[in-house]
């Protein structure tokens, strides 16, 4: 029987499980929506004691199913509290503290606890410092930041520095990381944000190729056929070879304008080698305001033909499977014809991390050695 359903009885528990299964069966383009709607109405009649089981139903669920299940949780919790009832705090807390559950339902469990007992929720926050849920982790970092600021204000600089260091180690959100690094620098300490985020800074570049009428995005230029570093290609202005490029930008900006000048209607490629200590899942996290494509170990991961609509760290998050040893990452970035000041950028930033945003660092590579020379 599913978690927390002991009170329902065998038949009701079976109906519950069928309804959850209907929600978990929904797919893309609205597939399964009608059955899910019926199942949801059934589940929403349940009592607050079904909440932990509904949360558990989100484990491994696709994003549509997770939202359907959240719909049931929201209705049951809302109705229960509106009628003056309460939520099963202990069971929700046990669910929250069990890190084998998915991060989203755990964070939702925390929010439910906070709705009914803010004091109990507060007590749990320090334990979230290394949590796989970035939302829960953020709570703990925020608390630590407050403590560190208090120590700094009281003149206890060594203790403040150490608390800031501890909070930086745990922080994954840009705003918190910038707050912490600013505080540490004010206290005279060095912070290596490039390393904290894990931006890839050593690259080989090839270009420029054309992007007249934005046709370069779909055009297959030489580096897409053969990315061997010894290869040469027919570029826009003659033969093109790979050249080493390293960025010293704190946020790992790889800027094609630096080696090639402020060009328009052009395409450039950058590739790097990432040496992984083991086989493991990871995410490529890209920020780019040009049209781009990215290949991982020779396979196209994703591409997007949008120009100058904005850029930010971790703008695009793409799951990949690292293999032990050498992995190759190839990025194509297209610059368009716009001439406004805010369209000069022809650049990207890329990092490899786990699902929480924790940097995964590459072992030293051949490229880095070349770049250093």
């Amino acid at each position: 029987m599913v978690l927390g359903l002991a009170s329902l009885g065998q038949a009701a528990a079976g109906d519950f499980e069928k309804s959850v299964a209907a929600l978990r069966a929904v797919g893309g383009e609205g597939w399964g929506n009608e059955a899910a709607g019926r199942a949801l109405r059934q589940l929403a009649k349940g009592g607050a004691d079904t909440l932990p089981a509904l949360l558990a139903g989100m484990d491994g669920a696709n994003p549509f199913a997770a939202n359907y299940l959240r719909g049931a949780v929201e209705v049951i919790a809302g109705n229960t509290l509106a009628k003056g009832g309460t939520l099963p705090l202990v069971e929700l807390g046990e669910f929250l503290l069990n890190k084998s559950h998915d991060t989203k339902p755990r964070a939702l469990a925390f929010e439910l606890i906070r709705r009914v007992d803010a004091s109990a929720a507060e007590q749990l926050i320090p334990g979230f410092l290394g949590d796989p849920s970035v939302d829960l982790r953020r709570e703990a970092v925020a608390r630590l930041l407050g403590q560190a600021a208090g120590l700094a204000k009281a003149g206890n600089k060594p203790a403040a520095v150490l608390l800031y260091r501890q909070s930086l180690d745990a922080a994954r959100d840009l705003d918190q990381i910038q707050t912490i690094s600013g505080a540490l620098r004010e206290l005279g300490r060095e912070v290596n944000l490039t390393r904290h985020f894990g931006f890839l800074v050593d690259w080989q570049m090839a270009g420029p190729f054309h992007n007249k009428d934005r046709a370069g995005f779909v055009a297959v230029f030489g580096p897409e056929k053969n990315a061997d570093l010894s290869a040469s290609y027919n570029g826009m202005d003659g033969k093109v070879k790979w050249r080493a490029y390293s960025t010293d930008d704190e946020y790992g900006m790889v800027d094609f304008n630096k080696p090639y000048g402020d060009l328009k209607e052009v395409t450039g490629y950058a590739q790097t080698e990432f040496v992984s200590a083991n086989d493991r899942p990871a995410e490529l996290r890209l920020g780019c305001k040009n049209a781009w494509k990215i290949w991982f170990n020779g396979e196209l991961v994703f591409g997007r033909d949008e120009y100058h609509r904005g850029m930010r760290i971790d703008q695009y998050q793409m799951p990949v499977q690292l293999k032990k040893g050498s992995n190759t990452i190839l990025v194509k970035a297209c610059q368009n014809e716009q001439v406004e000041d805010w369209t000069v950028q022809w650049q990207f930033q890329l990092r490899v991390c786990d699902a929480t945003g924790t940097a995964i660092h590459s072992a030293p590579t051949k490229n880095r050695a070349v770049a250093a020379k």
Partner: protein, 404 residues
């Protein structure tokens, strides 16, 4: 509440909505014009703010009013990935229910806008809410989720790094979602009952924040008038087929307005298109570069067309000729579209100041002002003698004291 009896009241009632409801972006006809009378004019915060409620998240979507309930969307969380839908009691602003869902699409957007930018729509029985992440939810009016879609999960390049903002419309019983952007750009007609695609058509690959207008013909047929940088496409909401195309370009920010069978398009200023009675063709009536709107959508009231530019200048033109009649400087800038009720125009600027313009004065006259003190980017709702307007933090009900 005394009301002027106008034809669109009957149209609204026929849809299962009640007179006085404000069921979507820019009201029952999507044109920002209300048949309400008796709204406060000489505004005074002490007298006319009926209630003010804190919201749990950000947003610039317009509030909706259906019956005695106000609906508003917001987005919260560090990554703006908590999508919120609230139902408030119109009488006192108390929260009747609140629902939260996770964003499944991109929550990247320009700092000024929000993931809760598009305005929901209601048919009087259900609420359809879409967010910039292209997550779409259908709930009944008691907050029970009926179905959902995640359009960026389905179509991964359907996103805009500046944010999406086109609001949903209902036409011919079909829910129309405009998901237009630089990459995987489309508009889809969805089954209201289950969210399934009835049709999906490719649209110009260009960012677009406008909201469609709906033309209802005398025979009862409805056409969706989709605006984009490529102009206007009149689309059959049953199958997505295009009846006609005005191909001379149009703005991708302010939306068109439809009044008296004429579509006023933000195109080369404003271009007036006279629509055939059966909706299957159009004729260009006039064009005026002197009526060029800024971000706010143009308005038509009686025989006048009004546009508000980014500098805050309100321009009045003649609907027959497009001739500019007068201009009045208001305190801009404006991110949200104004509304008209009882021959008064209500314009909320980005600094939270509302100005009331008496449109019966020969060259318009400012007859009321009030400062809400927070950035307002939405178009207000008008219902049952009150205005409803929201910021990133709050929602206000503005009404005469006697109506509180």
């Amino acid at each position: 509440m005394k009301k002027l009896i106008l034809t669109f009241t009957f149209a609204a009632l026929a849809n299962g909505l009640a007179a006085g409801d404000w069921p979507g972006f820019r009201g029952p006809l999507g044109n920002g014009v209300s048949d309400e009378v008796g709204l406060p004019i000489a505004l005074d915060a002490k007298k006319h703010i009926a209630w003010r409620i804190d919201l749990p998240g950000r947003g610039l979507s317009s509030p909706l009013v259906v019956g005695d309930r106000v609906f508003v969307t917001a987005s919260g969380g560090t990554r703006q990935d908590q999508l919120q839908i609230l139902c408030l009691n119109a009488a006192d602003g108390s929260v009747i229910w609140q629902r939260q869902f996770w964003a499944t699409g991109s929550t990247v957007c320009h700092n000024k806008t929000s993931i809760a930018a598009p305005t929901p729509v209601s048919d009087g029985k259900r609420l359809f809410a879409i967010f910039s992440s292209n997550d779409l939810f259908c709930l009944d009016l008691d907050g029970n989720l009926r179905w959902l879609r995640g359009l960026t999960v389905d179509y991964p390049n359907a996103r805009n790094s500046l944010g999406m903002a086109s609001s949903l419309v209902l036409a011919g019983g079909v829910l129309v979602a405009q998901v237009e952007n630089d990459s995987e750009s489309f508009t889809a007609g969805l089954d209201k009952q289950n969210g399934a695609n009835l049709w999906k058509v490719n649209r110009p690959k260009s960012s677009n924040w406008t909201t469609a207008m709906v033309q209802k013909t005398k025979s009862g047929a409805e056409w969706v008038l989709l605006q984009s940088g490529k102009g206007i496409h009149a689309v059959n909401p049953k199958n997505g087929e295009v009846a006609w195309h005005y191909a001379d370009g149009a703005s991708t920010i302010p939306s068109s307005t439809l009044a008296g069978g004429v579509l006023y398009v933000p195109s080369h200023g404003v271009t007036a298109l006279e629509l055939a009675d059966d909706g299957k063709s159009f004729r260009q009536k006039w064009r005026s570069s002197r009526l060029r709107p800024g971000t706010a959508s143009p308005l038509v009231h009686r025989d006048r067309v009004y546009s508000l530019n980014n500098a805050g200048v309100l321009t009045c033109g003649d609907t027959d000729s497009g001739k500019r009649l007068w201009q009045l400087r208001l305190d801009g800038p404006y991110g949200g579209s104004p509304v008209v009720a009882d021959n008064h125009l209500y314009a909320f600027n980005e600094e939270g100041k509302v100005q009331v313009v008496d449109l019966s004065a020969p060259e318009g006259r400012i007859v009321g002002e009030m400062d809400l003190g927070e950035m307002i980017l939405c178009s207000p709702a008008v219902s049952n003698g009150a205005l409803y307007v929201r910021s990133n933090r709050r929602i206000w009900k503005i009404a005469r004291k006697t109506q509180l």
